[in-house]
């Protein structure tokens, strides 16, 4: 049976969650994440007919997301701290402490160079495998794995210090 390309709607349903999580981790606040997400999928929709199946829809969408983010940063007059942002409210003791740990981890992540933060966002928020990240950022899979390992080790060292 011939392979049938997914519809835009299917691609949207399948990948919105990961793309939005990634955008959320790379923007300063929830509103920005929503704005950029709207732009990403608008661009994707406009270029959907030109999408060629020589890459996966997923990596194609993440490439658009990265480019849109770059444009977004450029448009901003001042740089704001990026990273996962959480607006949930602690409802009990354990959750409260967990949230504090998150804040601490977040501070450590913020201290990483931007390319390493990007790597973490693609892997953890976007859920991309190293092979897919390599495709998105234009590196080899081995290079991505090595960079990811180094990033995690660096973060571990800082976090557990």
């Amino acid at each position: 049976m011939a392979w049938a390309a997914p519809s835009f709607e299917e691609a949207y349903e399948a990948h919105f969650h990961c793309v939005f999580r990634y955008l959320s981790s790379r923007t300063a606040n929830e509103q920005d994440a929503q704005d950029v997400a709207a732009e990403v999928f608008s661009r994707a929709y406009q270029h959907w007919s030109g999408f060629r199946a020589d890459s996966s829809v997923r990596t194609w969408l993440f490439s658009i997301a990265r480019n849109t983010l770059t444009s977004h940063y450029r448009r901003r007059r001042h740089h704001e701290p990026l990273g996962p942002h959480h607006t949930t409210v602690a409802s009990h003791e354990a959750e409260f402490l967990r949230q504090e740990e998150r804040v601490e981890l977040l501070a450590v992540v913020h201290c990483l160079p931007d390319d390493q933060q990007e790597l973490l966002a693609l892997r953890f928020a976007g859920g991309l495998r190293c092979r897919e990240i390599a495709e998105v950022v234009g590196k080899t899979e081995a290079a991505v794995k090595m960079a990811l390992h180094r990033t995690v080790e660096k973060l571990r060292k800082e976090y557990e210090a």
């Binding site: 519809s7 999580r21 959320s24 601490e104 981890l105 953890f124």
Partner: protein, 533 residues
């Protein structure tokens, strides 16, 4: 590439999967949790759907698209999407979120009427979304963007401004349940008013309440102006203890952060246990920032205390540690967080901090430090950090944290001394703090008149005063700046039953009375209330 580097993908997969029983790396797990949440996702998804003209997602529709991928379906879909793109271009209504509304210019030119559909969605996590679609037909007028936004919000939530000629419809679930018509001269409300409680501190704010008048969460949008204070705030329809909690949570530290004309969003979260959470966020303007004041359901007694109360309840399995440290003059600690413009409820600057530490076997507290963060143009935050070890794992505990610190903040560390408080004193004190949390207690210096000085007590708020009396201490209840009734002598033991929540200025520290009170209360823990003069 080493084997560890090769394995990183697999390890991260395990952490992301979070499968129980699967031993993964704690750091990777933490990262997975950190990146695992994306607030506002559903709203964003709906927004994209709406902007691309895609209908709302339904369970059966995905199957239809998978199975019935027919040319007809595609044509219908594409035609729908195309139409949705075209309609706004041909001057159809735009769907805007409240935030967009506040950020984008809304110009109404001469001789034209513009229709906007504004979707208000309260998407506090964990609660079902409530969406109000508001259709506003505007006629040309002298309405600036900010004015329009503020007035519109006021209109949406019950007060139609005469400055906006037009028609306003509020829909929920597709059904119009509120319609306001303003012909420029009079306002006609066609349908019954929304069941909304009014809080009107800044001209445009309300709190949504459900029918049982149990406020679950609220979104208040207002325009800040210099000098705004609580005296201009009216709270109607809120349970009194919540009003009190909200009032106490709003200090000059919050209001003072706003610049004139900035749009400020502050969210009030209430749980069914009446714990109060507030989040203030400046949405626009030079001081755009977020300040979160929050309190814990488990740390705050239900209905008797709220944000601003420093109430340490000792949960089972936890112990309380005072931390001894000092801050520079003029600094005060609140929840373990210091702030130059510290608000109404603060811990004593040089007094002990209390920290709640889990009482688990193998959990060992090692050291504490006070970390001060400084960055240009901002207030300085100080956070008390505890370093503990449990087994082989080192832990860092933020005693209580404040607003999110910017990454460019640099830390200045100061050592703090750990001292374990006698358990029997701590236990009784914490219980008593909760018991007496209803009204603030003011402690007056010995040289002062038994009556509080003019302006000492905030209007409309009762307080219990503790003053030297007959060689001991006396307590009297005061309200509206006057004392009612006689002073009743209290013993030192009875004093322990009170929350020491007084007007102890720094200059008054070291006085004989202060020392006596401190001794009487036990561990020297004071709740400070800033003088509202």
């Amino acid at each position: 590439m080493s084997p560890r580097e090769r394995d990183i993908d697999q390890k991260i997969d395990e952490a992301l999967a979070g499968s129980p029983g699967c031993e993964t790396d704690p750091v990777l797990e933490d990262l997975a949790r950190l990146y695992g949440e994306a607030p506002g996702e559903q709203e964003a998804k709906d927004r994209v759907r709406s902007s691309l003209g895609m209908p709302a997602a339904q369970a059966g529709r995905a199957r239809f698209f998978r199975r019935g991928r027919t040319a007809l379906a595609a044509a219908v879909l594409l035609a729908g999407i195309g139409l949705a793109f075209l309609v706004p271009l041909v001057r159809g209504p735009a769907v805007l979120s409240a935030n967009q509304l506040l950020q984008k210019p809304l110009a109404v030119g001469a001789n034209e009427t513009v229709t906007h559909i504004i979707r208000f969605q309260d998407h506090t996590s964990g609660a079902p979304a409530r969406v109000l679609d508001v259709t506003v037909e505007l006629k040309p007028g002298k309405i600036s963007r900010l004015d329009f936004a503020g007035e519109l919000l006021a209109a949406v939530f019950g007060d139609m401004s005469s400055d906006i000629p037009g028609r306003l419809k509020v829909r929920e679930g597709g059904e119009i349940f509120h319609e306001i018509v303003n012909d420029g001269e009079r306002i006609v409300s066609a349908l019954p008013q929304l069941k909304l409680a009014t809080v009107h501190p800044l001209g445009a704010s309300k709190i949504l309440m459900d029918e049982r008048r149990e406020l679950l969460r609220g979104l208040v949008l207002g325009r800040a102006f210099e000098g705004a204070d609580l005296e201009e705030t009216e709270f109607n329809g809120l349970p009194s203890h919540l009003i009190s909690a909200v009032e106490r949570a709003q200090g000059d530290d919050v209001w003072g952060r706003w610049k004139k004309g900035e749009l400020v969003e502050f969210r009030l979260y209430f749980s069914r246990e009446d714990a109060v959470f507030l989040r203030y966020e400046v949405r626009s303007g030079p001081s755009r920032s977020a300040l979160e004041l929050r309190t814990q359901a488990s740390l705050v007694s239900s209905s008797r205390a709220g944000v601003g109360d420093i109430v340490f309840e000792q949960p089972p399995g936890w112990t309380v540690w005072p931390l001894e440290g000092s801050l520079a003059e003029g600094w005060q600690l609140r929840y373990g967080v210091s702030r130059r413009d510290a608000g109404a409820h603060e811990l004593n600057a040089s007094g002990p901090l209390l920290a709640l530490i889990p009482q688990r076997k193998g959990f060992q507290l090692e050291r504490a430090e006070l970390r001060t963060y400084r960055w240009p143009g901002k207030d300085v935050e100080a956070v008390a950090l505890l370093y503990a070890r449990e087994g082989a794992k080192a832990q860092r505990i933020w005693v209580i944290t404040g607003p999110e610190l910017p990454p460019e903040a640099t830390a200045v560390q100061q050592p703090m001394r750990l001292r374990k408080a006698p358990a029997e004193k701590v236990g009784s004190l914490t219980v008593d703090l909760l018991a007496a949390a209803k009204a603030p207690v003011w402690i007056l210096p010995p040289e002062s008149d038994p009556l509080p000085p003019e302006g000492c007590l905030p209007a409309s708020r009762s307080a219990r005063l503790v003053v030297p009396f007959q060689g001991g201490f006396g307590v009297v209840t005061s309200s509206e700046r006057s004392c009612e009734g006689d002073f009743e002598p209290v013993s030192s033991e009875e004093l322990r039953q009170l929350v020491v929540d007084g007007d102890l200025q720094m200059a008054q520290r070291g006085t004989e009375l202060f020392d006596e009170l401190r001794s009487a209360v036990g561990v020297g823990y004071q709740r400070m209330v800033r003088n509202d003069e």
